[in-house]
C-alpha cells in the first residue's frame, strides 16, 4: 500500500480528511461536535453559532454581508475550513451558492448546548480508589512513557525498561516510521526522522518555560500575565498542557496519516478508525487526574485503552474489585487545537567549521537522534561530543534521511550562543553535507525508449512536442533526428506516430 504523503498539521486536519460517511458518523457524538467547534478559526465559529438555529440555507452573499471590508481573506479561510470538515453543506441553486449546516452536526450541537454534555461515565469516588496519583506524578508518568516510546522507536535495544507495546502498535510504527532490513535492527525512515524532529521541536519547548520561571509546571499558570490562545477567551495559559498537546496532535496525525496501513491494522483488531477518533476526542473532555471505571468502556475502547496507556495518555490502575483508568493531560488536551506556536525554543547544538559537533543535552533521545547522522564520540553528563563525517552521513542517506532535513535540524536546534550568528551552522558544513548527498546520486537512470530514423523533420518535431507535452522527453538531437522518451509514454508515442503515418 503506498504511503500517504499528506502531512496533516494537526489532529483536526486529519479528521477533516476522513470520508464523508465517517464524518457523519463522528458528528453523532456530541463531544466531537464541540471539539470540532473549538478547533475552528474564530470567524468560522461565529458562522456556525449564528447558523445553529437557522434551518433554511443561507446564500453566500448574505454571509458576506456580515463581513467588514478587510475580512474577506479570513472569510475565505473560514468557509474553506467549514466545507472541508463538512460542517457546511454547499447547495448550488440557480447560480447562487447557499450554505447549510450539516444536519447531524446541527442537531447534536444544539443538544449539547442545551444539555451541557454529560460524559458517559462518572469519576469513581475516592472511597474506592484510595490514593490517586498526584498531578506531578501523572505528568511524570506521561512524559516517561512518551520518551520511552520514542526511544523504542529509534533503537530497539536502548529503552530503559522493556515496553509492553502491543505487537500491533509496534507494527504500525515500524511500517511507517521504521524500516527493517533482514537481520538488522530497525532503523528510521525519512518520515520517521521528520516525525522525530517535529516531536523534538515541541518537547524542547518544555524546559524553556520551566527554566525561565515563566511557568509553574505544577499549577499550569503563567507567572506573569495571561496569553490568549485560540480565539475564545479561554483563561488559558501557554503552558505545559498545551505544549504536550501540540506534539500529541502531531503524533496522532502522523499515526494515522503516515501509516496508511494503520487503518487496515486497526480494522484487523476490529476497531474502526472513526471509533478511535471518537474515543480520543471523548477522552479529551474528561478531567485529568480523576479515575474512571474500565467497565464503562465498550469492547473496542477497552482494546484501545491498553495502547493508549503505553503512550502515556492514560494510566491504568487496579483496585481490589475494580480497575480504572486515569486520563493524563496528554489526553485531555486533544480538543484544543492551536496554530503552530512560533515561540523560540532552546537549541543545544553547536557545529564547528571543523565538522565537530557539541550538543549540550543529557537526553538519550537527543543522543540517538544525533547518532543517526553523526559519529558520537564522547558522552559527558551534560554534553555530547561528536563529529559529522562522510561515513555517518552516508549511513543517514542510506536510511532515507535527506541532507536538507539534517541541515534544517541543525539550524533549528542551534545553541543560543551560535543561533544569533548568521549562518547558525557554518556554510562549509552545510555545503559539504549537500555535496556528499549529491555524490551518492551522480548517475540518474530512467527506463526509456530510443527513437530514430524519422521520415521527415516535421514528424520529428511533432513527436518531440508530443513527448514534451507529456513530460516524457528525456533527450533529443535535432540534427540527427533522434530522441529518447520515457518508457511510461511509449505506448502513447507509438499511437501518435501511427497516427502521423496515415
Amino acid at each position: 500500500m503506498p504511503q500517504v504523503k499528506i502531512i496533516a498539521k494537526n489532529f483536526m486536519d486529519m479528521v477533516a480528511s476522513l470520508p464523508a460517511i465517517k464524518l457523519d458518523l463522528l458528528y453523532r457524538n456530541q463531544f466531537i461536535c464541540e471539539a470540532i467547534l473549538r478547533s475552528l478559526p474564530p470567524l468560522a465559529k461565529k458562522y456556525v453559532l449564528q447558523m445553529l438555529y437557522i434551518d433554511i440555507p443561507i446564500t453566500s452573499k448574505s454571509l458576506q454581508e456580515w463581513l467588514l471590508a478587510d475580512g474577506s481573506s479570513k472569510h475565505k479561510v473560514a468557509i474553506d475550513r467549514l466545507i472541508q470538515l463538512r460542517v457546511f453543506e454547499v447547495i448550488d441553486r440557480k447560480k447562487e451558492t447557499t450554505y447549510k449546516l450539516n444536519s447531524t452536526f446541527q442537531t447534536n450541537l444544539r443538544k449539547h448546548m442545551i444539555s451541557g454534555g454529560i460524559l458517559p461515565r462518572e469519576p469513581i469516588p475516592q472511597s474506592v480508589t484510595a490514593r490517586l496519583p498526584t498531578s506531578e506524578e501523572l505528568d511524570a508518568y506521561a512524559h516517561e512513557q512518551w520518551e520511552c516510546f520514542l526511544l523504542q522507536l529509534i533503537s530497539s535495544g536502548q529503552a530503559k525498561k522493556s515496553t509492553s507495546f502491543s505487537s500491533s502498535m509496534m507494527r504500525i510504527f515500524q511500517r511507517g516510521l521504521l524500516r527493517q532490513r533482514d537481520k538488522e535492527a530497525p532503523r528510521l525512515t525519512e518520515s520517521g526522522f521528520q516525525f522525530l524532529v517535529c516531536i523534538m521541536k515541541l518537547m524542547a519547548l518544555l524546559p524553556l518555560f520551566c527554566v525561565c520561571g515563566l511557568m509553574d509546571p505544577y499549577t499550569d499558570k503563567l507567572n506573569e500575565g495571561k496569553i490568549e490562545i485560540g480565539s475564545l477567551s479561554w483563561p488559558l495559559y501557554l503552558n505545559w498542557k498545551t505544549l504536550m498537546q501540540l506534539f500529541f496532535c502531531h503524533f496522532v496525525a502522523r499515526l494515522f496519516i503516515l501509516c496508511s496501513d494503520f487503518h487496515v491494522l486497526v480494522q484487523e483488531q476490529g476497531v474502526d478508525q472513526a471509533d478511535l477518533i471518537a474515543f480520543l476526542l471523548e477522552l479529551s473532555f474528561h478531567t485529568p487526574g480523576e479515575a474512571y471505571s474500565l467497565d464503562t468502556l465498550t469492547d473496542d475502547q477497552t482494546t484501545m485503552i491498553k495502547d493508549l496507556a503505553d503512550l502515556g495518555l492514560v494510566k491504568l490502575q487496579k483496585g481490589r474489585k475494580e480497575s480504572w483508568f486515569i486520563p493524563t493531560k496528554l489526553a485531555t488536551n486533544l480538543s484544543v487545537s492551536l496554530t503552530d506556536s512560533s515561540s523560540r525554543k532552546q537549541g543545544f547544538v553547536v557545529v564547528e567549521t571543523n565538522f565537530r559537533m557539541y550538543a549540550y543535552s543529557s537526553s538519550k533521545l537527543h543522543c540517538e537522534i544525533l547518532r543517526l547522522f553523526a559519529r558520537v564520540e564522547y558522552q559527558l553528563p551534560n554534553l555530547i561530543v561528536g563529529a559529522i563525517t562522510k561515513e555517518s552521513l552516508y549511513n543517514a542517506f542510506e536510511n532515507g534521511i535527506t541532507a536538507e532535513q539534517i541541515v534544517t535540524f541543525l539550524q533549528q536546534n542551534a545553541h543560543p550562543r551560535v543561533a544569533e550568528k548568521i549562518p547558525s551552522v557554518p556554510e562549509n558544513v552545510t555545503d559539504q553535507i549537500r555535496l556528499w548527498e549529491t555524490d551518492l546520486n551522480r548517475v540518474e537512470m530512467t527506463p526509456a525508449h530510443f527513437y530514430d530514423e524519422f521520415p521527415s523533420r516535421d514528424v520529428f518535431e511533432a513527436a518531440s512536442d508530443f513527448a514534451r507535452m507529456h513530460n516524457g522527453l528525456l533527450w533529443e538531437d535535432a540534427k540527427k533526428m533522434r530522441m529518447v522518451v520515457m518508457a511510461e509514454i511509449h505506448m502513447l508515442m507509438r499511437e501518435h506516430l501511427r497516427g502521423q503515418n496515415k
Partner: protein, 66 residues
C-alpha cells in the same frame, strides 16, 4: 524491454565509457552514446553500474584507521 537512459556528469561519463570498454563483448552495455552526459544502455545493468561507481568512490576515500 525498456532500456535505460543515464544522466551523468562528464567525469562519470568517462568512467562509464571505460567500464564499458573493459568488459568483454558479450557484456558491453552501452547501446548509444547520446552525448557527453547521456547514454542509452541495456536495461539490467543499473545495479552493476551503481556498484561499480560506489567501488570507485570508496577507492577515492580515505578513512582514518580507528
Amino acid at each position: 524491454m525498456p532500456e535505460k537512459c543515464g544522466l551523468i556528469d562528464i567525469p562519470m561519463a568517462q568512467f562509464i565509457v571505460n567500464l564499458n570498454a573493459s568488459l568483454p563483448a558479450a557484456h558491453k552495455f552501452i547501446i548509444h552514446v547520446l552525448d557527453s552526459t547521456h547514454f542509452f544502455v541495456q536495461p539490467d545493468v543499473a545495479g552493476m553500474i551503481r556498484s561499480a561507481i560506489s567501488e570507485f568512490r570508496d577507492q577515492n576515500s580515505y578513512e582514518k584507521p580507528t
